[in-house]
């Protein structure tokens, strides 16, 4: 100790130098609260989610009148994006089972996707009394390049010989009416990357099916131009997209339960941003004042 009084730090400097660990601690506390005290969150369903929902409804209605069309669930996600992609997958499978639209699961990018989707489908299938091979099938993982998509459109048996469980796909009852991608009305790609683009680039021009996507929030903004142009029919964007879809289905699933935490965390981010900016503006003002005084 040299006897000098400790220098006081101005409040605006303090605001800009908050220990990040305090910010993380507040995030942890806020995100934890809804786990013990549920916070009801009312959400507006965005048009892009509504469009996707309506597309599935349209397929279900058309199947009653005309030749049956199927839905392909492209599960191009892995555990690293499970938080967002799993509720999206669950919401879509719930809708398809509820409306009796038969679907196939596959991935052209990641082997974990079909494995995780299989678990989700099995769980929801019990609720609706649906049977594997009759109401849904899992093609598993099949790495595909651009030429494969073109073959997949015309004759998918050339690309996939066995399903995820090792059964030759010609022996799967549901495959009786499926020849290629032209028998599918919708490809729903769930991904945390740009995997959906392969369907848009290579397969859609050949088969003219619709494409829907379930993507992580980060990918969402890059899909908007494709929706505007009609290349993608609709989207579930991040956890909130899945929660909105759950709202349309009138269920309270994993996404809806997480929205309370999500909202509180966002609120804290906004408060932290405002505090930081107030500190910055105040310190700039102080600097200007000091410069003036020095002149």
């Amino acid at each position: 100790m040299n006897g000098e009084a400790p220098s006081r730090i101005a409040w605006y400097d303090r605001l800009q130098k908050i220990d990040p660990r305090i910010i993380y601690l507040v995030v942890f506390v806020l995100v934890s609260i809804p786990f013990f005290v549920p916070i009801p969150v009312k959400m507006e369903v965005s048009p892009v989610v509504r469009k996707l929902y309506d597309k599935v409804e349209e397929i279900a209605e058309n199947n009653k009148r005309g030749p049956e069309k199927f839905v392909l669930l492209a599960m191009d996600w892995s555990p690293s994006v499970k938080a967002e992609n799993q509720p999206q997958t669950a919401a879509m499978i719930e809708h398809l089972f509820r409306r009796g639209v038969r679907f196939a699961i596959m991935s052209h990018l990641l082997p974990e996707g079909p494995m995780m989707a299989e678990r989700i489908a099995e769980r929801i299938a019990k609720k609706y009394n649906k049977r594997y091979g009759v109401d849904w099938v899992n093609f598993g993982f099949r790495q595909m390049r651009f030429a494969d998509y073109m073959a997949f459109v015309r004759d998918m048996y050339a690309i996939i010989s066995k399903d995820y469980r090792g059964t030759p796909i010609r022996d799967v009852p549901m495959m009786k009416n499926i020849r290629g991608l032209r028998d599918f009305a919708l490809v729903f790609d769930v991904t945390g990357s740009g995997a959906y683009a392969d369907w848009v680039y290579y397969a859609q021009p050949e088969a003219h099916f619709d494409i829907g996507v379930g993507v992580t929030a980060i990918i969402g903004p890059s899909i908007r131009p494709l929706i505007d142009a009609g290349q993608v029919v609709g989207m579930m964007e991040g956890l909130s997209g899945a929660a909105q879809y759950e709202q349309l289905l009138n269920i309270r699933g994993q996404a809806s339960r997480g929205m309370g935490s999500q909202n509180l965390a966002h609120l804290w981010v906004i408060i932290a941003l405002i505090l930081g900016n107030i500190g910055y503006l105040a310190s700039r003002r102080r600097e200007k004042k000091l410069k003036k005084e020095l002149r």
């Binding site: 290579y202 021009p205 969402g220 965390a265």
Partner: protein
């Protein structure tokens, strides 16, 4: 803020060690009790399941300890994760690609006849590895040329469709500013939206237009400045969604800790 003295640093480190020790003992005791309780209820299956969940919890807490400070536990778990990813990736390439797509077809599997012509695929495959030799790198260039050629050819059609088909990005950029109905032109809310869209597209494009100097051309200067602001709004949106995504990941981990591991939330 004054720098902490050596004594203060030592005191803080000893407090941190004590806190770490208490947390570690609590976690290990909880996992042990959890495993014992489940093994009594469900036998060995329950024991292994709960042990897996417990290890998952330790990994989650260990990785998040980085938020406090870089530490050996975090680094150890990070290396485990990287090692597991590489090992898993190698296994997947073998079981999902090399074996079913090549070996089984070549040697014949499950009653299928063997086709040794698949052996020829090995030649371009091996050619890639000549990249590692300075003297023989030219051999690898043939296979690179082939892949680039086929890739570009295949991608060209898709790219053209993506931008110039009926629903293509470029074609869909042409939007009506006025709507014609009953022989007269109207300016509706949709037209206003289209006008904003076109203005934003032109301003952003002008920002990347370097044929003329922006400083000497007042129109280009104004539009490129606007374009920069529009780009900033776009990047801000993307950054916002990034935070949203990261929070979702954190929520998922808390679901695991509270629900799957501790079983204390609904």
């Amino acid at each position: 803020m004054p720098e902490p003295t050596e004594l203060e640093k030592k005191e803080r480190i000893s407090v941190e060690k004590l806190v770490f020790l208490i947390i570690a003992v609590l976690v290990v005791v909880y996992i042990a009790c959890d495993c014992i309780v489940y093994s009594l209820r469900q036998g060995f299956d329950g024991f292994w399941e709960r042990l897996g969940v417990g290890i998952g919890a330790i990994c989650t807490i260990g990785i998040y300890s980085f938020l406090y400070r870089e530490n050996p536990i975090y680094r150890f778990l990070e290396h485990i994760l990287v090692g597991l990813s590489v090992g898993y990736g190698t296994g997947v390439v073998w079981t999902e690609v090399i074996q079913p797509q090549w070996l089984d077809r070549m040697f014949g599997a499950e009653g299928q006849p063997a086709n040794y012509l698949w052996l020829l695929v090995l030649i371009p495959g091996v050619m890639w590895y000549f990249q590692l030799s300075r003297r023989h790198v030219w051999i690898s260039r043939f296979v690179i040329m082939f892949f680039m050629g086929t890739g570009a050819g295949g991608a060209f059609r898709g790219t053209f469709q993506f931008f110039f088909s009926e629903r293509g990005q470029v074609i869909q950029t042409f939007k009506p500013i006025l709507t014609e109905s009953a022989g007269s032109l109207h300016f509706t809310w949709l037209n206003f939206s289209n006008l904003v869209f076109v203005v934003v597209v032109l301003c952003v494009l002008s920002y990347f237009f370097f044929t003329f100097r922006h400083e000497t051309n007042p129109v280009l200067r104004g539009s490129s400045r606007l374009g920069r602001y529009f780009l900033m709004v776009c990047f801000g949106t993307i950054f916002g969604t990034t935070i949203q995504g990261r929070m979702s990941l954190f929520i998922d981990r808390l679901v695991f800790l509270y629900h799957d591991w501790l079983g204390i939330s609904g």
